[in-house]
């Protein structure tokens, strides 16, 4: 029987490891990820989860332990945040290059200095080139569902890549929300045990990750690119299949809300997408023709879907809770890159908001939309990137 519970996204992520029958978990604590690894410890010690739980001495070792375990043929899990993710950086490349389907929630937190434990996407965004699939969640149900979906996707032979399941600090991690946990038998049906073709096996000795000469290196890298393209096709399929089995779908690569006739589309990522829906409803009541689209998957990037949105609208207002210094918001940057060949490009403006956990409410988003609407009337954007609510 499916179970409806009220809990935090972090605890929900811990329950997802049980539902996915994860076999090896290696983790190191960091705020605000801690309640994931604490709850997993309880599950393991109470005998509710029969996984090996390796309490490593750093995040670099957490990822390395996952790499060893996944290479030895089992389903693995870790979770981290901010500085922990940054410390893992080298091992992130090794995981994707080794084509290991490790699944890792990243509780998005600002990087220091000064120390900040609050929400900011710069931690995971700055790992976008590591060859990891990246999914950004908007609520706790999506966190649970995406972890299950991610194993199915990542273990697919045409993908074999690791995935980060990103959820924002406190806004999701420590906030209680109702979530439906599907029946275990049905999850087992959806996600059968991991059976890799290649693993460390004394009866079939293979050497993993040998030195590779320039004759071969590029081919291996091309295969990662191909795997990402395969993931691009599979993600919406798996999301739909999950929806048919369990009743929850999350928009595949991008979740659209009232975009069909919108003159202005608010392009968001993460929980800002949820606030944007409220803003859209309020603005529509005021007569503004606004829609919103939440990028759910950042790697592979939903280029085609964004081109589709750009075709039918007058302006894209892109809201980023993160910034690439010396350029602009990450989502703004990638969106513009996707549209460079587009004829009749809409107006585009980037809005950097909510860094280090500053609230981005529907009211903030309504202000952004109203400013954008003025620019549509004027036929041009006044500022390429606006830092929202910045103290002058």
């Amino acid at each position: 029987m499916a179970q409806r519970i009220i809990d935090t996204a972090n605890h929900i992520a811990a329950y997802a490891t049980k539902a996915a029958r994860v076999q090896v978990i290696a983790a190191y604590p960091i705020t605000p990820q801690t309640s994931i690894v604490e709850r997993i410890a309880e599950l393991v010690e109470n005998g509710n989860l029969s996984a090996e739980y390796v309490r490593v001495e750093s995040e670099h070792s957490a990822m390395s332990t996952c790499i060893g375990a996944a290479a030895a043929g089992v389903r693995t899990f870790t979770a981290t945040s901010a500085h922990g993710l940054a410390l893992m950086h080298e091992a992130l490349h090794w995981a994707s290059g080794s084509r290991l389907p490790i699944v890792m929630p990243v509780v998005n937190r600002a990087l220091g200095p000064g120390w900040s434990i609050w929400s900011d996407l710069t931690d995971s965004m700055s790992q976008r080139d590591t060859g990891w699939i990246q999914v950004y969640c908007a609520d706790s149900q999506e966190v649970f569902d995406t972890i299950i979906q991610a194993y199915k996707l990542c273990e697919n032979e045409r993908v074999l890549l690791p995935a980060m399941i990103c959820l924002e600090a406190f806004i999701l991690s420590h906030t209680y929300m109702p979530v439906e946990i599907p029946d275990q038998e049905k999850i087992d049906e959806f996600l059968p045990p991991y059976k890799p073709k290649w693993f460390l096996d004394v009866d079939n000795p293979l050497s993993h990750a040998n030195i590779v000469s320039p004759e071969w290196y590029m081919e291996f890298r091309y295969m990662i690119q191909e795997a990402m393209e395969n993931a691009r096709r599979l993600i919406p399929q798996i999301d739909k299949e999950y929806g048919r089995s369990f009743g929850f779908e999350h928009g595949g690569l991008i979740e659209k809300y009232k975009c069909e006739d919108a003159d202005l589309i608010l392009l968001t990522i993460g929980t800002i997408g949820t606030e944007a829906k409220i803003a859209v409803d309020n603005l529509r009541r005021e007569g503004l023709n606004v829609g919103s689209a939440r990028v759910r998957v950042f790697r592979p990037f939903p280029k085609e879907e964004i081109r589709g949105l750009a075709e039918s609208t007058k302006m894209l207002a892109i809201i980023d809770r993160g910034v690439s210094f010396g350029m602009e918001g990450f989502l703004a940057e990638e969106t513009k890159a996707s549209l460079c060949d587009q004829k009749n490009r809409p107006l585009i403006a980037g809005f950097v908001a909510g860094l280090g956990g500053r609230d981005v409410t529907f009211k903030t988003i309504e202000k952004i939309a109203k400013k954008s609407s003025k620019w549509i009337l004027a036929g041009r954007v006044e500022k390429e990137t606006v830092w929202v609510d910045l103290r002058e």
């Binding site: 390796v54 001495e57 957490a62 790499i67 060893g68 996944a70 030895a72 089992v74 004394v202 000795p205």
Partner: protein
């Protein structure tokens, strides 16, 4: 366990295959060959960045006839932890997981992961093959480089002493720590075989003479290893459950008169060419102090 008295009794099987690209006279390559003879081929090897990530040759070939996980420089012990956990989940009990790392990957960049794995009691054998510098990158100094040795980053000779790694590992209260050297193949094989029978973290420290880095003739590797032991610069011992024991031929060297002067070991290697007589006296003094400690440990036995 059957006692081996002569190298003629060793397994004829080779799991370090022909065609590997180690330097002529490579001490670590001899060690790896012996390791396979001791442990057999139901072994999974974790190899970080080190000479041994090059020695097997490049994709699509390898000369290691066991499954190998090549891994990041600092991550040998953490990776082994993951493999051990996965094997337990899969119910596989007859496979030995071995970390095979150089001195840089053990003393320096990998010490954190190694310390963590040892503290967790990870069930694996960690072998440090120690050629006393970063050999694979062209001989830069490491925490294992001895005082006075030339390396490319200490062209005037290293000013600091070598870390006492086996005792650092023993301080983790692991069940088995041992030192060995491929110049004493029976000692080497015995210790690896013994380690294989023990549960928990086992640390084997191998002195692997390196003609390329130590600057001696490639035919002298075994001789250099023997001189290291005979002068007392390298000591063969075991620390089993905290109990210290010298092993032959080091056992008899507790008598200072039986130890050759350290000069005999140093003068054969060009890396020590800049040592003054004063330096050599200093090294001899430190060495004699170390041996006083070994004498005390041998008589008290427990650390």
């Amino acid at each position: 366990m059957k006692k081996i008295a002569s190298i003629k009794e060793l397994s004829k099987e080779e799991h370090l295959l022909k065609g590997h690209i180690a330097c002529a006279g490579c001490g670590p390559a001899i060690s790896l060959r012996l390791l396979f003879k001791a442990l057999g081929n139901r072994v999974i090897l974790v190899v970080p960045a080190c000479c041994s990530s090059i020695i097997p040759g490049s994709y699509p070939y390898t000369s290691f006839a066991v499954p190998v996980q090549n891994m990041l420089f600092e991550a040998t012990a953490a990776t082994a932890s993951g493999i051990v956990a996965a094997l337990r989940q899969r119910g596989i009990r007859d496979v030995t997981v071995v970390g095979w790392a150089g001195d840089g990957g053990t003393f320096d960049i990998g010490i954190q992961a190694l310390s963590g794995a040892a503290e967790r009691g990870t069930d694996f054998i960690y072998v440090c093959y120690d050629n006393e510098a970063y050999g694979n990158t062209g001989m830069q100094r490491s925490g294992a480089t001895p005082y006075g040795a030339w390396t490319t980053t200490t062209p005037a000779g290293k000013k600091e002493r070598k870390k006492d790694m086996p005792f650092i590992m023993a301080a983790h209260r692991i069940p088995y720590v041992a030192t060995t050297c491929p110049s004493y193949p029976i000692d080497f094989i015995k210790k690896l075989k013994k380690a294989q029978q023990i549960k928990g973290t086992r640390f084997i420290h191998v002195l692997g003479p390196c003609p390329t880095g130590w600057r001696y003739d490639t035919s002298k590797t075994v001789e250099i290893g023997r001189l290291a032991v005979q002068t007392g610069m390298w000591t063969l011992f075991e620390i089993e459950n905290g109990r210290f024991k010298l092993n032959p031929p080091s056992t008899k060297l507790i008598d200072r008169a039986k130890r050759k002067p350290v000069k005999e070991y140093l003068r054969l290697q060009d890396r020590f060419r800049k040592l003054t007589e004063g330096d050599i006296e200093k090294i001899q003094k430190w060495l004699d102090e170390d041996w006083e400690r070994y004498r005390n440990l041998e008589s008290n036995q427990y650390l």
